[in-house]
């Protein structure tokens, strides 16, 4: 009986072993990951008040990619040899402008854990987008968010999804 118990214990211990994870590798350089040539894949407009009130989904969000003509939009974010942001270029032959400026420089609020990208035109005009999520960034997906406020309350927001 004692031997059977020991055997069962060994079998249980063996079954309980998990495969080792693969090496997760070097930490992902987010600033460098944000650089590149990004093609706009979709634009979602959100009614922030409708969301906060729990209104039906069809009055909360709307995919305006085709409706608003965002079918031909590319954002080029250049970097230097160290992977730091340098210049940007908005290529939108027929699509509306997102940034309101065609070129300039771009900067991150924090190179290690960036939350905001500020675009600065040659005329020193500034435009800011929030990085919605890091999920998908190392797989060539970038999600940026613009929120408009009234009386300090969010009213309308846009989610711009890009692919590398």
């Amino acid at each position: 009986m004692k031997r059977i118990s020991i055997l069962l214990l060994m079998i249980t211990a063996l079954l309980g072993c998990r495969e080792e994870f693969d090496d997760i590798g070097e930490p992902f350089d987010k600033a460098s990951g944000i650089s590149g040539t990004w093609t706009l894949s979709s634009v979602t407009q959100n009614d922030e008040e409708a969301i906060s009130k729990g209104f039906p989904l069809f009055v909360q969000s709307l995919d305006i990619t085709a409706r608003a003509g965002f079918t031909d939009y590319t954002l080029v974010l250049n970097q230097n040899e160290d992977g730091a942001p340098t210049t940007f270029e908005e290529q939108n032959t027929s699509a509306p402008s997102i940034l309101g400026m065609s070129s300039g420089i771009w900067v991150l609020d924090d190179p290690d854990v960036p939350e905001r990208i500020t675009f600065i035109s040659d005329n020193d005009e500034q435009f800011e987008l929030i990085i919605s999520t890091y999920i998908g960034l190392n797989e060539g997906q970038l999600s940026l968010k613009l929120t408009r406020f009234a009386d300090e309350k969010p009213v309308v927001s846009y989610i711009y999804n890009f692919e590398k």
């Binding site: 608003a68 509306p96 408009r148 009234a150 309308v156």
Partner: protein, 274 residues
Amino acid sequence: MKKFLILIIFLVGSIGLQAQNCDQAIVTTEPAAFTAEDEVKLLVDLSACTYLASLDEVYIWIFVPGGPGPDAVGGNGDFCNGSNPELLMTDEGDGVWSFTFTPTELFDATPAEIGSQIGFIPKEFAACQGIGDQTVDLFLTVDPSEFIPTESRTFPSKFGQKDFVTLYFDQNLADNQGMADLDEIYVYTWANGTDASGASIGDVAKAEWTEVGNTTELMMTNEGDGVYSLTFDLDTFYPVEEGTTITQINYIYRNAEGTVQSANYSSQLIEFDN
């Protein structure tokens, strides 16, 4: 004849008393827009109401038109003989008086019972003297707490100068049978605002009424199930000069020929410019 004279004297007297009710009050709220479930601070500038501005105490008489009164504090009291002391307004200085409340709590009612309007009258503790001791009936607009489908709506419900706007027309809710039967729907729309110098731009139409049917940008998209939509970039849609600030858009749904149109025209204020 004597009765007739008495009636005339009574009517003139009534009109005279009515005329004493101050109609110069300026009303604002914080926040500017609120639902029945939000706490709101009501501010009333009574500095142009001579008698009320001279008082040390001002009370609010508050009600839902056709609905409940302030049941949570025991009602309004007696208009002529004495208000409920719980409804004493706060002196903010410079003739401005405030009252802070949450509609659902004050009226002990649901958002549906409160509806879209709250009425109120700033007044002296015991009014009815006909000496300007109360204002005329004043009203606040209450934003809906729940989505109410309507014939016409915009997405988003509020928007600014630089937003994309989508107009929706739902034939299932059309007030006009002619509109419910159309296979193609167009929009006649115009904007109001101010130019770079601050002067009014008047009514600037995207296309004149007679040209709407020839303007493809004004033809709505059939989304199915009787719902039609039109999306545009507010910043570039209307033919206004650079530097113009659009403060309001207006629109009428119609057929290409202009022989059938929606029963009502819709209009929406542009609430922010960032």
